[in-house]
């Protein structure tokens, strides 16, 4: 390619602009987390001061570690439950032909379009009925419900694309549906599983509305709620510094997860298994 100079410059200028716009809020959060006192309230581009005070404040605060543990527990169980249900469901939706399959798929997609607030009161009733109020399981349940449609759709699409013959070869080999799913399909669906699992994890990790509604006591809170309810020295003070510090801290696990699994996503894993 022989692109002219001005076009190249324009291209990179655009890229730079987009990156700037996308990254600035994060940059500002990180910068603020290292500032204290009134420095926080002065708009600035470069850090004015630097201190670890906000971070120290977080770890000395009661309940923070507890809410991180809550979040990890809830997000992990949600991912596990969602993937288990979604993989089995999408096998049925992709490979078993039954009456009303198309309708069911559309319904699943439709359900995922409801905003959270619309189902909040219904879900609240349900959770009370099941006696899950103020328990982590309330959140696991509601997050799983909200993650499943997307996960099922993505996995169904992927599974549909797996060649029929691989499954038939496995059937001839004596594999039951469970063996086909776990030992033949799952390894081939790795990229999709990782992607949907990661999104489910991030969704559960960051969710706020349900977490706020379904928990009452401080030791049941997840991180986002804990951040929001972080109180300053007085009623009127919003402790921006510590809030920013927590926000930065809880983002790190997500970044690590993405980095780790990025390498595991081996594109084109199915290439070479089937030709035709």
């Amino acid at each position: 390619m022989n692109r002219s100079m001005p076009r190249t410059i324009a291209f990179y200028a655009c890229v730079l602009l987009i990156v700037l716009i996308a990254v600035f809020p994060f940059y500002y959060a990180i910068m603020t987390s290292f500032e204290t006192g009134t420095a926080i309230f002065r708009p600035n581009i470069l850090p004015e001061s630097f201190s670890w005070d906000n971070y120290k404040a977080i770890f000395t605060r009661r309940g923070f570690v507890r809410s991180v543990a809550n979040s990890v527990f809830i997000a992990s169980i949600t991912v596990g439950a969602a993937l288990l249900l979604a993989v089995t469901a999408s096998y049925a939706l992709a490979r078993v032909s039954f009456r009303g399959r198309g309708l069911l798929l559309m319904t699943i997609l439709g359900v995922s379009m409801f905003p959270q607030i619309a189902v909040l009161s219904g879900l609240y009733e349900l959770i009370n009925l099941l006696g899950l109020y103020n328990k982590p399981w309330a959140l696991v349940l509601s997050y799983t419900i909200f993650t499943l449609p997307f996960t099922v759709w993505v996995l169904t699409t992927f599974m549909r694309d797996l060649p029929m013959e691989i499954e038939e070869a496995a059937i001839v080999d004596g594999a039951t549906p469970w063996v086909i799913i776990t030992r033949v399909f799952m390894p081939l669906l790795w990229p999709a599983l990782v992607t949907t699992g990661l999104l489910a994890f991030i969704g559960a990790w960051n969710e706020f509305l349900f977490a706020l509604t379904f928990t009452i006591s401080a030791d049941q809170r997840t991180v986002p709620v804990a951040i929001a309810l972080l109180s300053g020295a007085s009623q009127q003070e919003i402790p921006w510094g510590p809030i920013m510090a927590v926000s930065v801290l809880v983002t790190i696990p997500l970044i690590v997860l993405v980095r780790v699994f990025q390498r595991k996503i081996v594109a084109g894993l199915t290439a070479g298994g089937v030709k035709g």
């Binding site: 001839v172 070479g272 298994g273 089937v274 030709k275 035709g276």
Partner: protein, 336 residues
Amino acid sequence: MANITLKAVRKSFGSFEVIKGIDLEIRKGEFMVFVGPSGCGKSTLLRLISGLEEITSGDLMFDDARVNNVIPSERGIAMVFQSYVLYPHMKVYDNLAFGMKLGKRDKSEIDTRVRKAAEMLQIDHLLDRLPRQLSGGQRQRVAIGRAIVRDPRVFLFDEPLSNLDAALRVATRLEIAKPHHDMNDVTMIYVTHDQVEAMTLADRICVLRDGVVEQVGTPAELYEKPNSVFVAGFIGSPKMNFLTGTFADAVGCTTLGIRAEHIDIVDQADATWTGTVVHAEDLGSDHFLFVDIGADEPVVVRRSGKLDTGMLGQVVSLRPQAENLHRFGPDDKPLG
């Protein structure tokens, strides 16, 4: 190692009948080839035998036991698919061993059998590779190996060579013929629409057309005594010449069939037909002349030796060998 009997087997997809009542006996240790044009139901029939597809009505017997409702893995079959299916995430070794592992076989027994099959197919140096690291021919051999290690009663092949190039096709054809010779009396059923494959591999050929059996017999029987115009046209390359109208009337039939090698070029005095050579194909060892004798299509004449290029455009006199005429009646069946 199994006698397979089909009794009035039918298969419908919804209201669409694909297999329309097939009675067939496949003998123990036989190499049976199903041929027929695309869409005639060969694959479907094979899948009925494998159990991957459910039989709508009729009986399927393996050695006198009705297996209509037996699941594929318990029928003692092994199948090689058209698109050679390997598990992409498993090494060749595990691909070969997967079925036996599911069958909870002994580890050392699995190992012995995998290695034996790999040796037989000359893929023993590839056992540690993933399928995507293999060439097409190697993959197909692994697929055949997957079938062999299962030590099945019946081998099922669905156009296993159609994805390979011509040279590889011939080589792999040998690989397929070999287990048939090596493993005594293993029954093989092989689907193809390539009649050369059918002729070279088969003990017996079953010609299918539109979901029914047209004719079953040895390659020679089908070649020499086709019992319909369809079979006559389908078996043999080049295709048998068919003549109608006055040409057929002259020998008292509706359709006259004559193979290319059964037409002689003779002196003008002995000629049955005369015509111009409109096209010629030279294969080296023999050549084909396409002679326009006034019929719908040129008649193909096979002669041995190299083509004399001067033949093109010449008028030649032809005489079909009387004992090799195939005379078909109005119902496309052979006459007396």
